[in-house]
């Protein structure tokens, strides 16, 4: 019996489409690059020449070192093609493989940008823009499509836990804190996210990332989840009275994800009702 086809979310389908496109790009580009790699540079140089500008691409040589680098380039394309194929076939199972493509494109973007800044040759800028756009599109689509059964990744979970520990630390008016119910609360928070639209889940995830970096903008020395308890409390209370409605709403929203699950135990309510009656 064939395995059932997973019901993908719209975001996962968009990401898969991009992966199929990338796969065909690398798979069909590979032999083309191998056979006609040297002609590509010449072809690209024709365009600026037509505009009366100096050709930006260094003319391709024909020595052994060129063939050597060409083989390395082709092998990288083969890796990327295989990664894209696997992710396109089953985004939930093989999605994390995309890190390989992201790493490759990030490194090439950074290198091209560096060389462009040092050298000024527009060829580097074109390289940086091309790979940079591929990196951004892939990262954004992956962020949207991040595993639907998880909702919060490890980093976001750490930030949400830090919000929980900030709002409800151990000790004080009652001994237990968020830490004592962390797993249950995180599970509840994930379940709250599980019924929301992709846009709203994304918004919450971005809020978590934003709240983590905001302390740096407000003069604190490090990320929110790395701050000490007192500094975190001070920052969070500042956020709650911030003049910007969006930031205040963010604090309230994140508080909802920690406080509501923490108190979502019917015992307290029942006790109050029983005592009254």
């Amino acid at each position: 019996m064939p395995a059932p086809v997973p019901q993908y979310t719209p975001a996962e389908n968009r990401f898969r489409l991009w992966m199929w496109f990338s796969f065909f790009l690398y798979a069909f580009g590979l032999p083309f690059f191998l056979l006609f790699g040297r002609q590509i540079a010449a072809l690209l140089n024709d365009f600026p020449a037509m505009l009366g500008q100096a050709p930006p691409w260094p003319p391709a040589g024909s020595g052994m070192e060129v063939v050597f680098w060409q083989v390395l380039g082709v092998s990288l394309m083969a890796i990327l093609a295989v990664v894209c194929l696997y992710v396109a076939l089953n985004v939930r199972r093989y999605g994390p493989l995309i890190v390989a493509l992201l790493a490759a494109k990030l490194v090439s973007t950074v290198c091209y940008s560096g060389f462009y800044i040092a050298d000024g040759n527009p060829a580097y800028l074109i390289g940086a823009l091309t790979d940079g756009i591929i990196f951004l599109v892939t990262a954004i689509l992956w962020f949207f499509a991040a595993p639907a059964d998880r909702y919060l990744d490890g980093y976001e979970t750490r930030v949400l836990s830090a919000v929980g520990e900030t709002v409800l630390p151990r000790g004080g008016a009652f001994p237990e804190g968020y830490d004592d119910a962390r797993e249950r609360c995180l599970e509840e928070a994930r379940m709250m996210l599980s019924v929301q639209t992709g846009k709203d889940v994304l918004l919450t995830r971005m809020m978590l990332r934003l709240v983590d970096v905001l302390p740096l903008c407000l003069g604190f020395s490090c990320l929110f989840h790395r701050l000490g308890p007192q500094a975190r409390t001070a920052f969070f209370e500042r956020l709650e009275v911030c003049r910007l409605g969006m930031l205040r709403m963010m604090a309230t929203g994140l508080k909802l994800y920690v406080v509501t699950p923490y108190f979502n135990t019917p015992d307290e309510e029942s006790r109050a009702v029983t005592e009254r009656t």
Binding site: T9, P10, A11, T166, V167, L168, P169, G171, G172, A173, F174, G177, E188, M191, M192, L193, S194, V195, Q196, T197, G198, K199, D200, P229, R232, T233, F236, E237, E240, V241, R243, L244, G245, M246, R248, M249, T252, K255, L256, V258, V259, T260, P261, Y262, F263, N264, T265, P266, E268, E269, A272, V273, R276
Partner: protein, 482 residues
């Protein structure tokens, strides 16, 4: 995937206040009717804890927002019963002045429908024994300052005072449409299809002939002579815009009113247990001529505390005393106007709403009056969540709050009554539907939900929506009969 095909004389999308009422009226008149609902049917015993209820019965888990500064959460229901399953069961007739002013059914035409609806829903004033301490403490303040507070009318039958109206009544006492008009419609022959999400329309020769959509196991198509949309004032206009239906007037989605609301929480020395009793048991309409209505609101500890300020030891101190906190809500008959547009991505709609300065001042005025009542009742601290005084500890601070500069962005708002986005009007130039709720430029399309109310009513709108749907459906049944 398999595609189910249904045919009927009338297909109704949505089982909330409008859709369910229309289905019951049409089915009783012998019209072959289909009722389509995106959510599931829940029995009272299915309701579970607060978060489970929110996950199951709220659109988007309760995270529906109108964008603005501040953004305004607008919770909507998503189950058989629509928003009536999660509202506070408060019942008001529409103010006569508003009915006389709108280009909809006259008071004389609407009044019999109001009576029918109220009878079916067992609408009556709440017994004082159900009102709880949240009401009693505020009444103490009202008595001292000579302000009248009165029990609200509710659609309840055998209320056990669970205090859970907003999360699905666990005892089935609330007479939401899943317990009244939907069973009535089914008994009269209506076919109900749950977990059916309408995604598209079917046209033939430019004429709307049906709808299609998705179910958990496949797809469906429904063909009908008449289609009634009753998906609510946010989803219906977005659906019309997405599929270019009835858009000739260019009024679809415009004119959004939401009754912006906020609440003041007050900490007392005594135990209040505000969550015991009817959450919205009473109201103060002393300032109704200014468009201000104060209505009770109480919440279980999680949602209550998450809306209170503070973090760390200070917040835990507050949390330890949650049973000593009373809350009351404020609702403004808004002059601000928002707009609904097509949804982005998988969102059913995009709502935009910016509170204006006049409504902000009204909100502040109401918060101050409520603060005076609470201090008169013996409150120690007030929590307004409004800048620059989110916490108020004395009358002096309350006076400062009254005279300081306040901006819309400084408020923390919610809203519960979206209306106005497919307004009734005499002509197709100024609105989307006729007084009989028929689309001006699409004769076999009707809209029967809160979107047809062309103004901010100033009171909870469920009875008005039901009466309008009753009136429109009765007219439609007569036309079909002829």
């Amino acid at each position: 995937m398999p595609t189910e095909r249904y045919t009927a004389k009338v297909a109704i999308v949505g089982t909330g206040a409008g859709g369910a009422t229309a289905a019951a009226v049409l089915a009783r008149a012998g019209v072959d009717t289909i009722l389509i609902e995106q959510g599931r049917y829940y029995k009272p015993e299915d309701h579970g804890d607060i978060l489970t209820s929110m996950r199951r019965m709220y659109v988007n888990g309760g995270m529906t927002l109108a964008l603005g500064n501040p953004p305004v959460p607008i919770p909507l229901g998503c189950a058989v019963g629509g928003t009536t399953i999660i509202n506070s069961s408060t019942c008001f007739r529409p103010p006569r002045a508003k009915v006389d002013h709108w280009e909809g059914p006259s008071w004389e035409a609407l009044e019999p429908c109001l009576r029918e609806v109220e009878t079916r829903l067992h609408v009556g004033p709440a017994e004082e024994s159900l009102l709880g301490n949240n009401y009693q403490v505020l009444k103490r303040g009202c008595d001292k300052l000579g302000i009248a507070i009165r029990p609200l009318a509710h659609n309840l039958y055998g209320c056990k005072s669970s205090g859970r109206c907003a999360f699905g009544c666990p005892t089935g006492a609330k007479q939401s449409t899943d317990r009244t008009f939907v069973p009535d419609a089914i008994e009269a022959g209506t076919r109900l299809y749950t977990e059916h999400t309408v995604t598209d329309v079917i046209r033939k020769g430019g004429r709307l002939v049906g709808l299609k959509g998705e179910t958990p196991s496949g797809a469906f198509e429904v063909y009908a002579d008449v289609i009634i949309l009753a998906m609510g004032a946010l989803t219906t206009p977005a659906f019309l815009l997405r599929h270019r239906l009835a858009t000739g007037s260019r009024r679809v989605g415009r004119g959004l009113r939401i009754h912006p609301a906020c609440r003041v929480a007050a900490e007392f020395d005594e135990i209040i247990d505000g969550h015991v009793g009817l959450p919205q048991g009473a109201c103060i309409d002393h300032w109704a001529n200014r468009g201000i209505m104060l209505e009770g609101i109480s919440l279980p500890p999680g949602p209550l505390l998450s809306a209170l300020p503070g973090a760390g030891a200070r917040f835990k101190e507050l949390a330890a005393h949650w049973r000593q906190i009373a809350t009351f809500g404020i609702m403004i008959s808004d002059t601000s106007v928002g707009r609904v547009m097509r949804g982005i991505g998988d969102s059913p709609f995009t709502a935009i709403y910016q509170l204006n300065q006049a409504d902000t001042e009204s909100m502040r005025f109401a918060m101050v009056r409520l603060g005076e009542l609470y201090f008169a009742a013996g409150a120690k601290v007030l929590y307004t969540n409004a800048l620059p005084y989110p916490v108020i500890r004395s009358m002096d601070e309350l006076r400062k709050f009254e005279s300081c500069r306040i901006r819309p962005s400084g408020l923390e708002l919610m809203a519960f009554h979206p209306t106005g986005t497919c307004a009734m009007s005499a002509t197709g130039k100024t609105g989307v539907v006729t007084a009989g709720l028929q689309a001006h430029d699409m004769p076999n399309l009707y809209i029967m939900d809160g979107s047809v109310i062309p103004c901010a009513l100033g009171v909870n709108p469920q009875i008005t929506i039901m009466a309008l749907a009753w009136h429109g459906a009765a007219q439609l049944a007569a036309e079909i009969g002829n």
